[in-house]
Amino acid sequence: MTAPPPIAMLAELTHRCPLSCPYCSNPVEMVSRQAELATEVWADAFRQAAELGVLQLHLSGGEPASRPDLPELTRAAHEAGLYTNLITSGIGLTPNRLDALEAAGLDHIQLSLQGTRADLADRIGGYKGGFARKMAVAQEIKARGIPLTLNAVMHRHNLDDLDRTIEMAVELGARRLEVACVQFHGWATRNRAALLPTRKQTEATKRKVTEAEARLRGTLAFDFVPPDYYSDFPKSCMGGWGSAGLNIAPDGKVLPCHAAETIPHLRFDRITERSLRDIWYDSAAFNAYRGTDFLPETCRSCERVTVDFGGCRCQALAIAGDAAATDPVCRKSPDHHRVTTMLEDAMRDAEGAGFTYRVAPR
């Protein structure tokens, strides 16, 4: 099949981060500082991405502000014509660096929020004083008028604070709030019992988001990502494998999504060895799960196949043991009982469950 050009690229500039959130989306095996790509390699990757059709570039990590060359990278992306979005915890964004990023053409900041109070936020992030520093950065962003999205990662410990989260987004002048319930990949799978919200919390969240969305229309836009374990149907992961987005890891591996390396039989090309165009259109990894032909009959005969493409490949592998299977979140999946069992186990073990924090790369 012929793939369309990609729209968005996630550039994981580094896996280094001052925080150690127990739901970090980085892989459990992280890339060390020594293995990170040089400034010129990233700049060239951004130009290749723009020529390929990428419109949106997400500068992410780890904490992208851990890279001293962040303003140079932003400038390179801006000059390539990309819309530049910085996905950050805010730690390391001093007023001087914000000046440099604005001058370099940064378009938008997505600031993560671990909690609405210092005690909880610092416990989740595993970084004392982090909340206070983040709030100071948020005020700097607001004063400058840099377009802001607040990304509130939600789970058992902070979902009940949703009302305050929404208030904070409005107070900080954010135009958009992501209410992103933890998805269970990477580090989060080690913290299922501690993080999985209850069904009651999830239902209350849906109601609150719907109500706030109507009340704040035109002031604050919402994007709501429910915890998919409670859904009847899987998420449309990445809008389909190799269909809309791609990801470059800190060491230059080009991935169809940030969790794709958990599929052990796939081999991923590096940006230092092959052009982005070749990798996108012709590599085995990007073609492995394109389209819907690889899916089982359960999916191919389903009217939702063009909506969710059978769900998430990484989740299919992690839970059903086969990356080409129906995402077990789907109630039609023959492996759906495994999700039900995981939910029951998580609820049984939730009381007093501690966090396994992400460990920093060497």
Binding site: G53, L55, Q56, D107, Q110, I146, P147, G218, T219
Partner: protein, 95 residues
């Protein structure tokens, strides 16, 4: 807040939202925080008149004259299109 634009409202694209040509797919695309919207010729015609100076009524007048179309119909189309953008905070207005 009501999203409907009054005749004297002057719509504008806020910082972080812009229209640019899509060299790979053709046409124009509206770029906004974490979103890219491919514009059809009608969307492009409307947004190319959104500059923070022209009022909603002036934009509708100009489009009706340019395309020799009934004003009421144009007004409805422009109102719907701009309200959709305003709901996502991709568009703001000055009174």
């Amino acid at each position: 807040m009501t999203l409907a634009l009054a005749p004297g409202d002057r719509p504008y694209l806020p910082r972080g939202v812009r229209m640019r040509p899509d060299h790979v797919r053709g046409g124009q695309v509206l770029l906004a925080p974490e979103k890219a919207v491919a514009l059809d010729p009608i969307g492009e015609a409307i947004l190319s008149r959104v500059n923070g100076q022209a009022s909603f009524a002036e934009i509708v007048d100009d489009l009706a004259a340019t395309y020799s179309a009934p004003r009421a119909q144009i007004e409805g189309d422009v109102q719907t299109f701009l309200q959709g953008l305003r709901a996502r905070v991709f568009l703001m207005v000055r009174p």
